[in-house]
């Protein structure tokens, strides 16, 4: 029983760490991408920094754009991660403020990731539009 309890605790802790690092490795690839002015205009964001609360709004805009078909998996994974951060942030806000602050920073990264996804989809829909016009001509 003691061995099972220890394995259980250690495994849950390891699971959370590995899951957070895995999501970060997906988000990290988007952090190097410089956002275009166009996406800031569309999203109505003037400052350089994104707010954690922007994530859902950006995701709604992403869903309005034509689906590229190759980013659905990562958007879903980051969406799950964002959901977990929300829960963690709410729990930690009253009890462990440093963890709540960390969760908020991660939520901002998720919003940045959603903005990059939006930027890519806008470019894709523009390309589609240009192609359609060219085909008609």
């Amino acid at each position: 029983m003691i061995v099972a309890s220890l394995i259980c605790v250690f495994s849950i802790a390891a699971f959370l760490q590995f899951f957070v690092w895995h999501c970060r490795s997906i988000i990290a690839s988007s952090r190097r991408v410089e956002l275009s002015e166009r996406v800031r205009e569309v999203a109505g964001i003037e400052s350089r920094d994104f707010n954690g609360e922007d994530f859902h709004r950006l995701l709604q805009l992403v869903r309005l754009c034509p689906d590229r078909g190759d980013d659905r998996g990562e958007i879903r994974a980051v969406g799950t991660y964002y959901g977990l951060l929300n829960v963690l942030g709410r729990i930690a806000r009253q009890t462990i403020p440093p963890i709540a602050a960390w969760a908020e920073q991660e939520r901002e990264s998720c919003s940045y990731f959603a903005a990059v996804a939006l930027d890519r989809r806008i470019s894709y829909s523009r390309d589609l539009f240009t192609q359609q016009i060219a085909d008609r001509l």
């Binding site: 259980c8 495994s11 899951f19 490795s25 190759d70």
Partner: protein
Amino acid sequence: MQLGPADYLIWIVSFALEAYVVVCLAFHKDTFRYFSLNLYMLAAALVTLGHYLTFHTYGYSSMQYRYFYYYSESLLIILIYFTVMELYQHVFREMNVSRYIRGAAALLLIATAFFSYAVVRQNKDHLTSRFVVELGQNLYFVGVVLTYLLWGAILKLRETRTRLIQLVLALGVYFSATAGTYALRNLFPGLQESFLRWVPPLIGTWLPLAWAYTFSKIPEDARLATARLMVRAR
């Protein structure tokens, strides 16, 4: 026991993802670069198919299904150990320590087999499902420890290959979730019929899903500083 639509869906998704990883590796000509991983995914796809066929032919409570389930599980654990060792070889490639890693892998396998034999011998009079759960829990926990050590090596050696990083992290999620589920089943056998019935099949789809994403989206030459994952993202 009757299967619901969710069971069929999980079966189909698992099989499709496992087959996709094998095809994806072959398409990118990476079959031999990740040979053990490829072999594991191929075996996992065949086992998923085998589970479905045995279930339909003999039924859930038949001895044939149980034997197939637990023997195939053992085979997959051995293959996944080889996959972990292959990832170790990729990480330590430039240090020319492949010989030692192969030796360590053989030793680990023998030690695991001996440990399993010792446990089986001790429990031969009451070889119950509880024992199988305990054995699975221990084997997967060894996997968690091995992956943790590998992740430590990746950080220490400042490994930057994004593919390798994501493969290892996905494996860590899989091992820890499976070991945790086995431990919970051991601690609370009552949960098996409700909550824990759904967890192993869902975890089973995680690994091929994450690896399919890595192999289809992350190019071999993509680089990522691991330090970015350890500190705040900005």
